[in-house]
């Protein structure tokens, strides 16, 4: 948060925002915001009246009219400024991205293998194949069709560690503007010039294609409705006042109107929306539409892939369970021996566990023959000094032992079953003499390694938060139901879908949606694409395929599936900020009435008793009205940080959230202006306003 606040006051952004807030005075821009348009018209009107009456009115009257006009202009400018500051960061980022997009030269392959030609990257067509060598910039979005390379994607992700891109599979998509660091790849272009990922990203962060979101439109309608009601109340007040022999000046009526219409939320509404999108961008998530961000706040069901989201990508060794009288240390020794050559994460974890628990150090394998894992044997191991050690799936190892003439005890079977029942993966370790060698050791099983899915720390707490917010989490996994159930329990998800196929996933989404729930999910593979498109919020991983990225409505540049939870919170925070400031804005009006109504009528004998309502004891009618107008303008500036940062989000149930926010922004909204207006009145009086 402090980091974000510091960024808010970056001088360049502020300078640019000041200029922009003047540019935004263009009536056509103002027209888009009915509330601020009314204030704009009021500013023009009071300014004209100020100059018209300059010679005929008293000094006090002139100072009053001038200050009202000035602060009405400030009200509009402050609202423009809020929007401009919100846009500022995006614009700065867009400038950086534009530099990346600067023209590069592409090496387009000529048909029939007749070499390559040099063309500007903007001249590329869909389906063109380009050769990109180490050190070159990938000319446009595409798919690797030949080769493998490490690519520096920091231009878009900000992540400096290079990533591997290779033809085929789910790691084939490359983005224009990123740089190949090593090797050479051939890329088939999949985006037209001007429609590349970077182009879209520029448009998004800059907000040039920003459309009002559904909820924002609805809120705007309500604000327009309230503005009309207050316009009506103000316009009809003049005949009533004349009837009561207390005719009002137009400046005072305009001041009343501007104070009553919801300028606070009207002025900050678009800034809140832009800032919400920006918060996502800061977390390296690109939302293709504001609609998706709002939908994220509404999600009732999150589909989360087990691997990578709930658990670390790989299983890890958790325990050694010896059988048939073998000591645990011997089992650990054999397990480590069999894994020394195993470079898979599971293998590494066995070596590490043996070292941590039994002090068994890694050793050099002298004269050893490594037996690699194959799909046929489903075992790996080592033959060393006449001893053969194998580890692998229970049935494979059992067969191996029996082939060597050994037998398998019931105890092993029980150990294997017990691990499976706990959701773990059992790896059986066995030994024998090397076939054909001296029979040093009888063929036998030594025990079982317990491989376990490790649930990410802290994830269970986040799911508990989600549950409090009324969001269901469903774990998606290819594991069998028994294993899935154990992980689901440990992670604290509400439900799980085991042995899931893409079709199952799709059906689950549709079923949830039929029940009226909005569904969010993450995905990266091509076979995730239909589900990503079907989900209300589909977050594609940037490492994923082009198809997945196009199907989803958000892309996570960090490819961190856990971020889905952040996205939901940002969506909620966006709506909460809007609601809180709307409530605050409307609640403010109570105090403004108590400032303005007595002041309007205090000077007329027929109705001067209304001054009894001057509960704030404001000094004079003019200072009272001015104080209300100034408060109305300043509150916009004071709330800009809140609008940009968003209202603090606490993951709790709706009832508590409502109680908390109603107290702060509803009750607070009633009380705050009484204090603010009184303080401004004191200052104005000290400055000599009468």
């Amino acid at each position: 948060m402090t980091d974000e606040t510091r960024k808010l006051v970056e001088p360049e952004i502020l300078q640019r925002a000041v200029v922009d807030s003047l540019v935004k005075l263009n009536p056509r821009t103002l027209m888009k915001n009915p509330v601020m348009f009314v204030v704009g018209v009021g500013s023009v009107l009071t300014t004209i009246l100020f100059f018209k009456d300059l010679s005929s009115s008293s000094t006090d009257e002139n100072v009053f009219a001038g200050l009202v006009a000035l602060f009405l202009w400030f009200t509009v400018l402050f609202a423009n400024f809020a929007e401009a500051v919100a846009e500022g960061r995006g614009k700065a980022q867009a400038d950086t991205l534009r530099k990346t997009r600067s023209e590069t030269v592409a090496h387009r392959r000529l048909p029939g293998g007749r070499g390559v030609e040099e063309v500007p990257s903007t001249g590329l067509d869909l389906g063109d194949e380009c050769v990109v060598a180490a050190g070159e910039v990938i000319p446009s979005d595409g798919e690797v069709i030949e080769g493998i390379a490490s690519v520096d994607e920091s231009a878009i992700t900000g992540e400096s560690a290079p990533v591997i891109r290779e033809s085929g599979g789910d790691r084939s998509a490359v983005t224009g503007g990123t740089r190949v660091l090593s090797d050479r790849i051939v890329v088939r272009i999949t985006a037209r010039a001007g429609e590349t990922f970077i182009d879209r990203m520029i448009a998004l962060v800059e907000g040039s294609e920003r459309k009002k979101t559904p909820n924002e439109i609805a809120l705007n309608i309500l604000l327009a409705g309230l503005t009309i009601i207050f316009l009506l109340a103000t316009v009809t007040l003049q005949p009533f006042a004349i009837y009561a022999h207390a005719e009002q000046s137009v400046v005072v009526l305009v001041a009343l109107l501007v104070c009553l219409i919801p300028t606070t939320i009207g002025g900050l509404l678009s800034a809140i929306g832009i800032a919400g999108m920006d918060r996502l961008v800061r977390r390296n998530v690109l939302a293709m539409s504001g609609r998706a961000v709002e939908a994220a706040g509404d999600c009732a069901t999150l589909l989360l892939d087990k691997t990578g989201t709930i658990t670390f990508g790989n299983r890890q060794a958790d325990a050694f369970i010896p059988v048939d009288g073998v000591s645990e240390a011997d089992l650990a020794d054999a397990a480590q021996l069999s894994s020394l050559a195993d470079e898979t994460p599971e293998g590494r974890s066995i070596v590490v566990l043996a070292k941590d628990r039994y002090g068994l150090r890694e050793r050099e394998l002298v004269g050893a023959e490594l037996i690699a894992f194959t799909a046929q044997t489903r075992m790996s191991g080592v033959d060393i000094q006449g001893r053969a050690v194998r580890k692998g799936a229970a049935d494979s190892v059992r067969r191996w032992v029996e082939e060597q003439g050994g037998t398998i005890s019931a105890e092993l079977g029980r150990a294997v079953d017990s691990i499976s029942a706990q959701g773990g993966t059992p790896l059986v370790v066995a030994e024998s003499s090397v076939p054909g060698g001296p029979s040093l050791r009888p063929p036998r099983a030594l025990g079982v390694i317990y491989l376990k899915d490790i649930v990410k720390p802290g994830i269970a707490e986040r799911f508990a938060d989600l549950r409090r917010m009324g969001i269901r989490t469903v774990m998606i996994t290819g594991d069998n139901p028994r294993t899935a159930a154990v992980i689901a329990k440990e992670a604290g998800v509400d439900d799980f879908l085991a042995e899931a196929t893409p079709e199952d996933k799709m059906e689950l989404i549709k079923a949830e949606q039929r029940g009226g729930h909005l569904v969010a999910m993450t995905g990266d593979g091509t076979n995730d694409a239909p589900a990503l498109a079907q989900a209300d919020v589909g977050v594609a991983m940037n490492t994923g395929t082009q198809a997945a990225k196009e199907a989803g409505n958000m892309v996570d540049l960090d490819s961190d599936p856990t971020k889905l939870i952040d996205i939901v919170e940002i969506g909620k925070q966006l709506l909460i900020t809007r609601g809180s400031l709307t409530t605050f804005s409307i609640a403010n009006d109570v105090a403004k009435y108590f400032a303005i109504i007595p002041a309007m009528f205090a000077g007329f004998a027929s109705v001067s008793v209304l001054n009894d309502l001057n509960v704030m004891d404001l000094q004079s009618p003019r200072s009272a009205i001015l104080s209300a107008v100034i408060f109305n303008a300043l509150i916009i500036v004071m709330l800009i940080p809140l609008a940009l940062r968003g209202v603090k989000f606490v993951p709790t149930g709706a009832a508590q959230l409502l109680r908390r926010n109603l107290l702060i922004y509803g009750a607070g909204g009633v009380v705050a202006p009484f204090i603010g207006i009184k303080l401004i009145d004191v200052v104005l009086t000290a400055l000599g306003v009468r």
Binding site: P214, I217, A218, L219, I221, L222, A224, G225, L226, I229, F230, L232, A233, T234, T236, L237, P239, F240, I242, Y243, A244, A246, L256, L260, E294, G297, D298, A300, R467, R468, M469, G470, I471, R472, G516, K572, L575, I576, G579, S580, T582, T583, I586, V590, Y593, I597, F601, V607, V609, L610, D612, L613, G653, A654, A655, L657, L658, N661, L662, G666
Partner: protein, 572 residues
Amino acid sequence: MTLAGWGQFLALVLLLALTAPPLGRYIAHVYEGAPSRLDRVFGPVERWVYRICRIDPEREQRWNVYALSLLAFSVVGVLLLYVMQRVQGSLGFNPTDMANVTPALSFNTAVSFVTNTNWQSYAGETTLSHFSQMVGLTVQNFVSAAVGMAVMVALIRGLARAGKRTLGNFWVDLVRTCLRILLPIAFVFAIVLIATGVIQNLHGFTDVHTVAGATQKIPGGPVASQESIKLLGTNGGGFFNVNSAHPFENPTKLSDFLEIYSIALIPFALAFTFGRMVKDKRQGYAVVAVMAVLWFGAAVTLQYLETGGNSALNGRGVTQAVTATSPGGNLEGKDLRNGAAASALWGSTTTGTSNGSVNSMHDSFTASGGLVAMVNMKLGEMSPGGVGVGLNGLLVMAILAVFIAGLMVGRTPEYLGKKIQAADVKLVAIYILVMPLIVLGFTAGSVFVGSVKHTSIFNPGAHGFSELLYAFTSAGNNNGSAFAGLTANTAWLNSTLGIAMLFGRFFLIIPTLALAGSLVRKQRVPPSAGTFPTHTPLFVVLVIGVILVVGALTFLPALALGPIVEQLKILH
């Protein structure tokens, strides 16, 4: 407030608490078309009506057809009532020899009764024949109330159904409301009223010689039959000019109590109907709570103010305390039989519903008392509201509250599982805009009209302004009560008030039905821990807050120049 005042009020609350819930259940039963033992009685009549009117009861209507049916029915009602008054002299049942009514007044009265307003620019006993009263006004008392309830049931169906297009059949809802709800209750209640002494005959004037030796004309008429539905249907149009302050309409303490009860009965019952029909009784309780808090607030405040008397009279040798011969309090314009407390209880109940009948003259309330009555109407009459239309207004405000504050829980706002989106907000905005537009617009347009300034307004200064403001508030909200100092039987006020009543009725009904049409199509979002709860005390407070803030912000400037300045002047 006096002890008797509290006693009466608490007895009323108790009686309502005992009877409104079962009545609400029965009404829900009627609208859900559930089979009932009463079908043996009502079924044949209903089928006969459907056959004669060629209504297919199975055929449901979308909101626009529902609205068109309702409008057509109302237009025909206005025309019939207009013509009837214009030719009443030759229609019979006219023992008092009433002449045909003038065009402007006929228009005003026809509109007034069709819109359930029952604003009366005339005095019943000196203007209308028994035929016009019975066949014209009393019939409209039934059907205009039924129309309001039909709109309400359409809105409830909009919330209760999901993914549908139709809201029911207007004609069926109209017939069933009249036949199964209003007629039986009104029949029983008329008998009860007769038992308390309300008259029911077809006599004309009877000349009697008074003790003092003078001759007095005593009117007769079918009063009890009209009185009962006038109160139950929140119509409010009295048989006699002084309405329920007349001893033939409201003869005893008991009749007074029962009549206040009958004003509030159906409006409260409908909140329970709502809870049952949306299959969540707690939602109904929340609505009842909003109604009750607003009603308690208004009733207690008004009774406090009126029993407290007029502060301008303090220290001037006038006793306003309770004595053996005086009920105490501000007694100007009040019947001594009722006293200040019962008059204030009636006043707050009649303005909190769209009833508008009176048992005392609101024009003579204390300035703050008049303010309470006016505020009660300006809040849109939701405490507990007119039959049907009051609940509509309250549900619209609940949706508004959900929309404003519902965002604060971080979800697209939803009410009863229905997402509140731009189209709905537009209709809600129109709904809350219409009434202030009518009230403020017509009042502002009238203050400089010659006939208003010189003929209609009775009192000078702030009170005169209050009279005019009250009139348009009453017309725009279809209430019908008046600050009777205002002479409303002029061409200008008869027409503008007539238009105000029409706008105030149909420009609220049409957006309500459109809203129902929009809601009924939506799928329901199942509730979760993340759903904005709309049955909690917090929500009740929120809805009340929104009703008060929206109402106060809209009308405070106008009220400041009327009753508020008047009261402050008295205090000075």
